[in-house]
């Protein structure tokens, strides 16, 4: 004896946020029921396990039927099959596209290909997030990537428009797309301490300042590709380290400004040339795709690690970078002020974000 068929259809589609989350988390119906029982919903509503099972199955089925629409959120608003209030629609979409930072951290900067998808079971094992959920997240990254890849206009706006995502989530996706497109290396051991949000912040900086879109906002891929001209111009900054006078002048200016203001003054003074070389070299090499990929690892190796070993505080770093940037403007023989500002602005905020004490 068994219930062979059991459905519930509301004119307004009923969706329980909790159950939706369990579904998104990739639970099986039975596991979801267990979680719900533990959550105490039964006592609250005098329900039996049977009722809970029926409800969970029903909702999982509904979500499955909706999934096709969620993959194309614009359709959700004008489809006729499910009558879902707009605020619910927004919730469904937002949660469907939400991801775990741990998961995205694993695939950040990797090619969103079948190969990467196959490695998701490792990701799942490592993060403790179900494979099903990992796959959904990965597929979302890939779907967003594919759609915005060929669109003109600002990346974040495109994502917002096509996937109806809230601003913050759209920005995160923009970061993911940006990283995937430029294939930034994020998986090295030295970078492990950085969270997705660190990278997302940096991506935002890069998108806003270093891409084609920062100058011209109607080109294809404008926010995804770095501004080639700018990268080329960055080579000119080399003069800051190749010209001995300039380097010394720069150093003394920074030292004058910082004297007495930081506890690590001596270390800074000793390390100035190294640090400056590091930052300028990173700039000069960015024309190579390979070096673009290593951008973050270079920042860590060439700047963050040396400072860390000298026990700089974040304030020290901030102070140093501010004066380092500003002093260059005072140098008479240094002609590349605009490029320098555009470069150092991003470098400074990225380093500050990446500098965990």
């Amino acid at each position: 004896m068994s219930v062979e068929l059991d459905v519930f259809v509301g004119n307004t589609t009923i969706m329980d946020k909790e159950v939706y989350q369990l579904w998104l988390n990739g639970y099986t119906v039975n596991d979801a029921v267990k979680v719900r029982i533990e959550g105490g919903v039964m006592e609250e509503c005098e329900a039996s396990a049977e009722v809970l099972l029926s409800d969970t199955m029903d909702q999982f089925r509904t979500f499955q039927m909706c999934e096709r629409l969620l993959q194309n959120p614009a359709k959700l608003a004008n489809q006729l099959l499910f009558q879902i209030p707009p605020d619910r629609q927004a919730m469904l979409i937002e949660r469907y596209y939400a991801f775990d930072d741990d998961v995205v951290r694993e695939v950040l900067g990797k090619k969103l290909s079948k190969g990467t998808k196959k490695d998701l079971d490792d990701v799942s094992a490592k993060t403790g997030i179900t494979l099903k959920s990992c796959r959904r997240q990965f597929d979302n990254f890939k779907r967003v990537f594919k759609v915005v890849e060929e669109l003109k206009g600002p990346l974040v706006e495109n994502i917002k428009q096509h996937f109806l995502l809230p601003d913050q989530l759209a920005r995160d996706y923009a970061a993911i797309v940006f990283f995937a497109n430029n294939r930034f290396e994020t998986g090295k051991k030295k970078l492990q301490y950085l969270t997705f949000q660190d990278f997302a912040f940096c991506a935002g900086q890069l998108i806003n300042n270093w891409t084609v879109g920062a100058v011209d906002n109607m080109v294809e891929d404008m926010d995804v590709d770095l501004d080639k001209e700018f990268l080329q111009d960055l080579k000119d900054l080399k003069i800051l380290i190749t010209d001995k006078d300039l380097l010394d002048q720069h150093k003394s200016l920074v030292c004058v400004a910082l004297r007495g203001k930081t506890k690590v003054f001596n270390e800074m003074e000793a390390n100035f040339k190294n640090l400056s070389r590091g930052l300028v070299n990173i700039a000069a090499k960015l024309t190579n795709t390979k070096d673009v990929r290593d951008f973050f690892i270079d920042l860590v190796e060439k700047f963050i690690e040396p400072c860390k070993s000298d026990k700089w505080t974040a304030t020290d770093v901030n102070l140093y970078l501010t004066h380092y940037t500003n002093s260059a403007h005072i140098l008479d023989t240094f002609k590349h002020q605009n490029v320098w500002t555009r470069y150092m602005g991003v470098i400074k905020s990225c380093i500050l974000r990446m500098y965990h004490e």
Partner: protein, 1076 residues
């Protein structure tokens, strides 16, 4: 050629990929009506084609316009092979044929395929141009309006209720034609869908003709059903109530009072004893009475109708009858008046073959007394329908049953049957036909042809009537008796008064004096199929009561099978009634409304499900408890067992009393002369069943004894009864449920509304089940289903499941199918008292300002001509509202008198204004009349410019939406769909398949309503859900038939938010966009 149908195909969207190579589709559209077909161009390589076609014009007879649907087929063009069909849309153009309904159909329709479901959407525009000579030839009945709603639709008033209309058409079922063996499932499904669509069109047209013949212009309570008789054919039948309706020209009547839902005001007023008050419904019962009395006072009572019940009581063979409950006023004191009234109505009704009404709620003053439920069943063997043009056998079958119902009603001393419905259950070649209704006595007001004359006369005299009424109102609240008509004095109880002769009762019953008016007799229990009358005095809240029963039956063929079934039926019904009665007593209630008994037949079992809403009618005596008795009292453990059970039952009753807030006032109950002297004793009464039973024994369902309702536990049935009594889980806190439209005791509905359908199929294992085992399974199935619903809807608490409609079926040998459709409505618990009050006052004020307009208007009219006499009656009714004395127990009297005095103040004021008279309202009425049109136009324009966003369409099985006002009925929705799959597993198994199908049906209903310009479906009903599966072949098929009324509503808050000038106010709201 009296009509031109025009259709334009605008665009498509979300089409499926038909060409795998390009991932695109080359779509074009065929538009077909009758035998004419047009095609659009092919729109190549797109999933969102923009055809933007010319207007396709069909020149057709209006007869065809009524019968045929517009058929739109979307296809994928293929150069080398046959074009592939993507899917179809059938559009019923009937709504366009009535001038008052929709004017254009425009919107996105889901493209539906019976194999694949919804496959994208298509945007279509449809218009009809009718030529003026159309009604001269009565082949068609264009313009007759149809309503599924079983009450007078909200923005109309009944001028006359003509009575019962029925029609039936038969045809061969395409699924069983020889050709079905060689055609595809899709072709066969489509043939069936199309045929049924045609047949329902034809049926509607024929019913429309009958209505026109009767002089009516509308059918209310239209119920259309399909009988899939398999080999022997397909029957489409319909019943309804023919009426003459008038659209309320002023859409801004104080809606709150018409609308029982919308909350406190009307309800509270009623409880306070303003019973008859219902300003929106024009014909009140109050004022006309003095007139009648003058005119006809010389009549003498006649009881020609009295008792002819012998026939119905005896023949039990194939068609067991059931009559029970009671009500009505003993003829003595009523004297000549009542008899006169009866006779009037009597003659009015006797002209009719079947004085039946499918309505379940009535304009005030229409329903006088209720006798009790009458029902009849008959078991028939199906044979092939030989000549589809003359469906005589089926007609004869129904005729027979209706005759029986009629005679049952007579036996109850009633001349009419209200809340009437018919149904069938078919298994192989056996068919059970059932009909049931409530025997009642109706006022002649809406039925006589002279009704209009009376009103005319009335309007001429009404000025004087009015002033006298007002004076009385000032003078003495309770002195209504001087107005002359007893029945209407305390309307909250009048309908309970027994209609039959006390000395000649059709069945033994306990009679007491009415607990409200103390003048007439009432039965101890009342069962009805109608909704709770809005004016009824109810104590506490109501609740859903179900009796469930399963009986095994030997497999048999043909006649043997039919005999076996008909032998089982009486027992089944008897037990269902016993269960109902027990459960009713357990809840300490004394009346059932909306009773619906469904008997479903399978190959090896019979299922019975009775649902009703139990309430405590203040007028009826308080029910006694339930006593358990054992036959062998010597045994001590046994005694203990019994006393344990007794305790449990007593506890449950006490708990229920609290739960449903049943605290009837402790009145001294005087025992009055009733045929069976009432033993007021708590002692055990053994074998009360058999004591009270004589010739009518088995079907005497009116268990008499008041205080001692005895269950003998030796009886296995009784064990079962007790068991099922105690296993019914109470509804979780915050939930209420009922199967009627309104729930007594709940007024503050919020706008939160959730209509749903839930279906469960249960497979019995191979084990040979006993009756008890089966019962338990069935009972658990229903209980669990309810529990699941409560759980699902827990976020809406406090809420009430209204109009809970269970349908049971036995689709296969070991399957039981239960389908529920209902609406969950949230209400506001806390503000019951405070806000309710305030809004009453507000409402009264509003009613008063309204009144001024409406009173002045008819005054002038009647001075000049009596062209609009009915409005005057309306005004009058409002004024005379407060006159009936207040008797509801739960009223806070201090504030009540406050209100009364303010009322009287207002009356004085008004009387003043009326004497002055004025002309200004005339113009305002003129202004108001075109409103609905304007409204719909603005709605439409909003919609078409709003881009792709989808109109929210509310659906509800009720005839109203709380907190809103229906401003226009756009036409009936009656849709039939078939869905089939040959890849059941891939679609998520049976549940996945049915889930998406039901969702698709909802979507298609919503799309059609939106295209008509509506934003809600009321009186929605899923009449059929036939599900068949063959998991081994990976196949399943399902048929669903739904119906309802498409409407436009506006939020009451929008109306209220506007300035006090009602007319301009509603004009403003009309332009303020969609209600949701």
């Amino acid at each position: 050629m009296p009509g031109k149908l025009k259709a334009k195909i605008v665009a498509g969207r979300h089409l499926p990929v038909m060409d795998r190579a390009s991932d695109l589709t080359d779509a074009f559209v065929e538009v077909k009506f009758g035998n004419t077909t047009f095609k659009t161009d092919v729109y190549p390589k797109s999933l969102n084609p923009q055809w933007n076609s010319e207007w396709f014009k069909f020149e057709v007879d209006d007869e065809d316009l009524q019968d045929e649907p517009l058929q739109i087929t979307v296809l994928d063009h293929d150069t080398y092979s046959a074009n592939d069909a993507i899917g179809k849309v059938y559009i019923d153009i009937d709504p366009l044929l009535s001038s008052e309904a929709a004017t254009v159909i425009s919107g996105w329709f889901p493209i539906y395929d019976t194999i694949h479901g919804i496959r994208g959407e298509i945007n279509v525009l449809v218009k009809v141009e009718l030529f003026n000579d159309l009604n001269r030839f009565r082949q068609s009945s264009c313009g007759v309006k149809f309503f599924c709603t079983t009450s007078i639709p909200r923005c109309y008033r009944a001028v006359m209720v003509h009575g019962f209309v029925e029609e039936l058409v038969v045809n061969e079922d395409p699924e069983y034609q020889w050709i079905d063996r060689i055609r595809t499932p899709r072709a066969s499904n489509e043939a069936r869908q199309r045929l049924i669509s045609l047949m329902s069109g034809e049926l509607q047209r024929k019913i429309g003709l009958k209505v026109l013949e009767m002089g009516g212009n509308a059918v209310v309570g239209y119920l259309q059903c399909f009988d899939l008789e398999g080999e022997s054919g397909l029957v489409v039948r319909a019943i309804g109530t023919a009426c003459t309706l008038d659209k309320l020209s002023n859409t801004y009547t104080p809606a709150t009072a018409i609308n029982p839902c919308n909350s406190s005001p009307s309800k509270d007023i009623k409880e306070a004893g303003f019973g008859e008050e219902a300003p929106g419904v024009p014909l009140s019962s109050g004022p006309p009475t003095p007139l009648r009395a003058q005119t006809f006072s010389s009549f003498s009572p006649s009881k020609s109708y009295s008792r002819q019940s012998s026939s119905s009581d005896t023949e039990l063979s194939l068609t067991p009858k059931t009559g029970m409950g009671s009500g009505g006023s003993a003829g003595k004191e009523a004297g000549p008046l009542k008899a006169l009234l009866r006779q009037q109505t009597q003659t009015a009704l006797e002209q009719r073959e079947f004085p039946f009404f499918t309505l379940t709620s009535f304009p005030p003053g229409f329903l006088l007394h209720v006798g009790g439920v009458v029902s009849a069943r008959s078991v028939k063997l199906l044979d092939r329908i030989h000549n589809p043009d003359e469906p005589e056998t089926r007609d004869a079958w129904w005729e027979e049953i209706r005759q029986e119902i009629k005679s049952h009603a007579k036996a109850l001393g009633c001349h009419a049957v209200v809340g009437y419905s018919e149904s069938t259950s078919i298994c192989e070649e056996v068919c059970i036909l059932s009909a049931s209704g409530t025997a009642a006595i109706l006022s002649s007001r809406f039925m006589q042809d002279s009704a209009l004359d009376t009103e005319h006369r009335l309007s001429r005299q009404q000025a004087s009537v009015f002033t006298s009424g007002a004076e009385k109102g000032e003078g003495d609240m309770g002195s209504t008796a001087s107005l002359g008509f007893e029945d209407l004095m305390s309307p909250g109880c009048a309908f309970c008064h027994i209609p039959y002769d006390e000395l000649n009762m059709p069945f033994p019953a306990q009679l007491t004096y009415c607990h409200c008016c103390r003048r007439y007799k009432v039965p101890d229990v009342l069962f009805t199929t109608i909704d709770l009358p809005t004016e009824a005095n109810v104590t506490g809240k109501g609740c859903l009561i179900q009796a469930r029963l399963c009986r095994t039956k030997k497999k048999a063929q043909g006649e043997g099978n039919a005999t076996a079934i008909s032998n089982l039926l009486p027992f089944l019904e008897y037990e269902l009634h016993t269960q109902l009665m027990n459960k009713l007593k357990l809840r300490s209630m004394n009346a059932l409304f909306g009773l619906r008994i469904q008997i479903s037949v399978g190959e090896n079992m019979l299922l019975g499900l009775a649902s009703a809403t139990g309430v405590y009618l203040t007028a009826l005596p308080s029910p006694g408890g339930i006593q358990i008795a054992g036959k062998t009292p010597s045994d001590i453990t046994y005694e203990q067992h019994i006393s344990n059970m007794q305790k449990k039952i007593n506890d449950t009753i006490a708990k229920n009393k609290e739960l449903y807030e049943i605290n009837p006032p402790d009145l001294v109950e005087e025992v009055i002369g009733s045929p069976i002297p009432e033993p007021r004793q708590r002692s055990r009464l053994f074998r009360s069943h058999s004591e009270s039973s004589d010739e009518v024994s088995e079907l005497d369902l009116s268990h008499g004894k008041k205080d001692a309702f005895v269950l003998e536990i030796d009886d296995t049935d009784a064990v079962e009864d007790i068991h099922s009594l105690l296993t019914d889980a109470p509804t979780p806190p915050g939930f209420y449920s009922c199967n009627t439209e309104i729930m007594p005791g709940i007024y503050n509905w919020t706008s939160a509304l959730q209509m749903f359908t839930s279906v469960r199929v249960f497979r019995l294992s191979n084990v040979n089940l006993t009756n008890q085992g089966l019962n338990k399974v069935f009972n658990d199935l229903c209980e669990n289903l309810l529990k699941s619903l409560y759980f699902k809807l827990r976020s809406m608490v406090p809420c009430c499941l209204c109009h809970v409609n269970f349908t049971v079926a036995v689709p296969e040998d070991e399957l039981i199918q239960v389908a529920v459709t209902a609406v969950a409505m949230s209400f506001d618990k806390d503000q019951t008292q405070e806000n309710g009050r305030q809004s009453i006052d507000k409402n009264l004020m509003k009613a008063i300002t309204e009144n001024e307009d409406q009173l002045q208007f008819p005054l002038e009219l009647s001075a000049e001509s009596s062209s609009n006499p009915l409005n005057s009656a309306k005004g009058l009714s409002e004024v005379s509202g407060p006159l009936p004395s207040a008797r509801a127990p739960s009223v806070d009297y201090s504030s009540f008198t406050d209100r009364c005095s303010s009322w009287i103040e207002q009356l004085r004021l008004k009387a003043h204004t009326i004497r002055c008279g004025s002309i200004k309202t005339m113009s305002s009425l003129e202004k108001a009349s075109p409103l609905p049109e304007g409204r719909s136009r603005s709605l439409r324009s909003n919609r078409s410019y709003a881009g792709s966003s989808v109109t929210v369409v509310k659906m509800t099985p009720l005839s109203f939406i709380p907190g809103t006002k229906i401003i226009k009925y756009l036409g009936i929705i009656n849709m039939f769909f078939i869905r089939e799959t040959t890849s059941l597993r891939e679609e998520g198994g049976v549940s996945g398949f049915l889930h998406s199908f039901i969702a698709e049906v909802f979507a298609m209903v919503r799309a059609h309503v939106a295209a008509l310009g509506g934003n809600a479906v009321v009186s929605y009903n899923m009449k059929e859900c036939v599900f068949m599966e063959n998991p081994n072949k990976n196949q399943a098929q399902c048929l669903i038939n739904v119906s309802g009324d498409a409407v436009i509503f506006v939020r009451e808050s929008e109306l209220e938010a506007t300035p006090p000038q009602p007319h301009s106010a509603s004009a403003q709201t009309s332009s303020s966009g969609e209600g949701t």
